[in-house]
């Protein structure tokens, strides 16, 4: 926290990190509105408050790296550079969406960016990430696989099996736990006897570090270290980002389970506020420039929403497409 923001990255990059965090924030806030307006069916799990961990982690990645995400995946996807238009289009259930309207929020992908999927199953993406890391190693081009998951997911058997396997085989995997203190409505302390998920890394002889999940640069640095280790062939790491979701578990959750004052306290480290403040203070990025960022984000999202709204609704004949990758459909589709 005390290290100057400019020590590691240049100003345009830092402003870019801010822009990306803001894009996520506003993407989610708008999605909530669009949902209330009836444009988005199904579940929405906003990551508002957790933008720094998504953006910090993805800033440490290169083009060959791949990502597996969770039910709370919009931030990871946008942090990776995905097109908010195609994302909204997917949420709006339009053919132009990333998944041709077949996946929705919980299953979104961007194959070009190596974003191999959100996931509806808590912990479900972790084994896939292990396999992606295996293939990265086989390819031998230095690519890594990043697995995002929450504090609730670390009590799933899959977490354990995969960390063991990846450590055993020295696979280039980076496990990023976004510890937002809750799994649904239940505090982390009621789900695990240890507060620091990072402490579980020792069970697999891998490094476990804790990042301030609301500090995009701290996350960036800790994840970059893990990525470097993975690229060097030294195996996987676990990075725990301590953070908080401002909104409910899903849109509609009123958060009655929260102790009073908890949210307010976390709002003080809201990365979309504290980070630009540091940019202004430490690097002299002025209000004009920050205002431009904000305007650019809104413009992009205006366009994105318009793109989605103008999208095509799939014809029902598409229901039976894509069950199988080959064309045995007439035979197998019954």
């Amino acid at each position: 926290m005390t290290r100057a923001v400019g020590e590691r990255l240049d100003t345009p990059t830092l402003v870019g990190l801010y822009e990306r965090m803001l894009l996520i924030r506003r993407f989610e806030e708008r999605a909530s509105e669009y949902r209330l307006a009836g444009h988005i069916p199904g579940f929405l799990h906003p990551c508002i408050g957790q933008e720094a961990s998504a953006v910090g982690a993805c800033a440490a990645l290169g083009p060959d790296d791949v990502i597996l995400s969770t039910h709370r995946g919009h931030g990871h996807m946008l942090a990776r550079g995905a097109d908010p238009g195609r994302m909204y289009a997917e949420l709006y259930a339009r053919v132009e969406g990333y998944n041709r309207s077949k996946g929705g929020s919980l299953h979104m992908i961007d194959t070009e960016l190596g974003f191999l999927g959100a996931n509806g199953i808590v912990g479900g993406g972790i084994p896939i990430a292990g396999g992606a890391a295996l293939q990265q190693k086989r390819r031998g081009r230095g690519g890594v696989a990043v697995s995002f998951f929450g504090d609730g997911a670390v009590n799933q058997g899959a977490f354990h099996e995969v960390l063991n396997l990846c450590a055993l085989w020295s696979l280039p995997a980076v496990f990023v736990c976004e510890n937002n203190l809750y799994g649904e409505f239940t505090p982390q302390a009621d789900q695990s006897p240890i507060p620091d998920v990072a402490d579980r890394a020792a069970a697999y002889a891998m490094p476990g570090t804790i990042a301030d999940g609301n500090d995009v640069l701290d996350v960036y640095e800790k994840v970059a270290e893990a990525v470097a280790r993975a690229r060097a062939g030294d195996g996987p790491s676990l990075v725990e980002c301590k953070t908080y979701r401002h909104r409910g578990h899903y849109e509609g959750d009123m958060c009655s389970y929260r102790p009073e004052g908890e949210l307010e306290q976390w709002l003080e480290t809201d990365p979309t506020i504290t980070f630009p403040a540091r940019l202004a203070q430490e690097l002299g990025v002025d209000e004009t420039e920050l205002g431009e960022v904000r305007a650019r984000v809104e413009r992009r999202l205006d366009e994105a929403a318009a793109f989605a709204a103008a999208g095509t609704v799939a014809g029902v004949e598409q229901t039976l497409e894509h069950v199988y990758a080959d064309s045995i459909d007439s035979k197998a589709l019954r």
């Binding site: 069916p41 077949k102 509806g120 799994g183 649904e184 229901t319």
Partner: protein
């Protein structure tokens, strides 16, 4: 007698059984103070205590195992699995352990536990939160499988399931949670294994369960205008299955249509059809109609999902074809 929602009937059954028997305990994710993802256990922790309403980590296998081990030693655990799509994470404990313990031990141990599972879509809940997996469990000897369609049955069968000495897989279809029906105040359990004629008819039996019953009734009303008289037979309990009830209905109608939200291929409707075609063949005057979801994962887009799921229109079409001598269409 009062009119309550399906979800409330579940709550009442849990509450009354917990009051009756101190060995009844609940386990599940977020079921404690938050009252569960769908509010079913709301108030039960406050009433029955923290040591009987156990809010668990997200560890489906450990949770079902915890219920199983406790049940083998005298507890009567009821597990809530938020969506039946997540039961896949506990299949070893369900299928290799709980289902088989009584048999493997020559009857010396048993596993009186209940696994309550939400199933079916709630509209655009997509591929991993919408499945209807009841057929799998009907294929596993040692398990009982219950699928109620009304608040009354939900309450009476859940009570029976809790008192049952065997592991019971209890399905609660999401789309039914807000439907209403009459329920007795302190109702008795109803024996598992009996189907129910919900509507009498002479031309066609629709054998179905859960939401299918309501869709079948809608279809029956439409078909009546065509002069087709439909009997709606609520299967209610997949295992044990009420062969006599099915036979009695087919004796009246001579024609069968199976219906469920689960994918038709390999669904429980296939078992019903096979029973009819094997054991009641002489009663059959027409091809068996089959209606279920198309063999695709659940799409997110509403119009695609609607095309995938069984609809009243599809039921009516297949029913007409069946009665008028066309081939059965899935």
């Amino acid at each position: 007698m009062s009119t309550i929602r399906f979800g409330q009937a579940i709550t009442q059954a849990l509450d009354e059984e917990m009051s009756r028997d101190p060995e009844v305990i609940l386990l599940g994710e977020d079921i404690g103070r938050p009252g569960g993802s769908f509010g079913i256990t709301r108030g039960l922790l406050e009433k029955h205590g923290e040591d009987r309403v156990l809010d668990t980590p997200i560890s489906e296998e450990a949770v079902v195992g915890a219920a199983l081990g406790a049940s083998m030693m005298g507890a009567r655990p009821v597990v809530e699995i938020m969506f039946n799509d997540f039961i896949v994470l506990a299949m070893d404990q369900v299928v290799n352990q709980a289902a088989k313990i009584h048999y493997m031990t020559g009857g010396r141990l048993s596993a009186p536990l209940v696994i309550r599972m939400l199933c079916g879509t709630n509209g655009s809940t997509a591929a991993q939160h919408s499945q209807s997996l009841e057929a799998w469990f009907a294929h596993v000897p040692g398990l009982k499988v219950v699928a109620p369609s009304t608040p009354r049955d939900a309450k009476a069968f859940l009570k029976a399931a809790i008192r049952d000495p065997d592991p019971v897989m209890f399905f609660e279809q999401r789309m039914l949670y807000n439907t209403k029906g009459e329920v007795d105040g302190d109702s008795e359990p109803a024996p598992l294994g009996e189907g129910l004629v919900v509507r009498e008819g002479g031309d066609l039996t629709i054998a179905t369960y859960m939401r299918g019953v309501h869709q079948a009734l809608e279809a029956a009303a439409i078909l009546e205008e065509d002069g087709i008289s439909v009997e709606v037979w609520d299967v209610r309990s997949l295992v044990p299955f009420d062969r006599d009830g099915l036979r009695a209905s087919l004796e009246r109608t001579g024609r069968l249509l199976t219906l469920h939200e689960a994918v038709a291929r390999g669904g429980f409707g296939a078992e019903i059809a096979a029973i009819a075609a094997s054991e009641m063949f002489d009663l059959l005057k027409a091809p068996i109609g089959r209606v279920g979801a198309l063999a695709t994962p659940h799409p997110y887009a509403p119009q695609l999902e609607a095309a995938m799921l069984p609809s009243v229109e599809r039921i009516v079409d297949v029913a007409r074809a069946t009665v008028r001598g066309g081939a059965g269409v899935v």
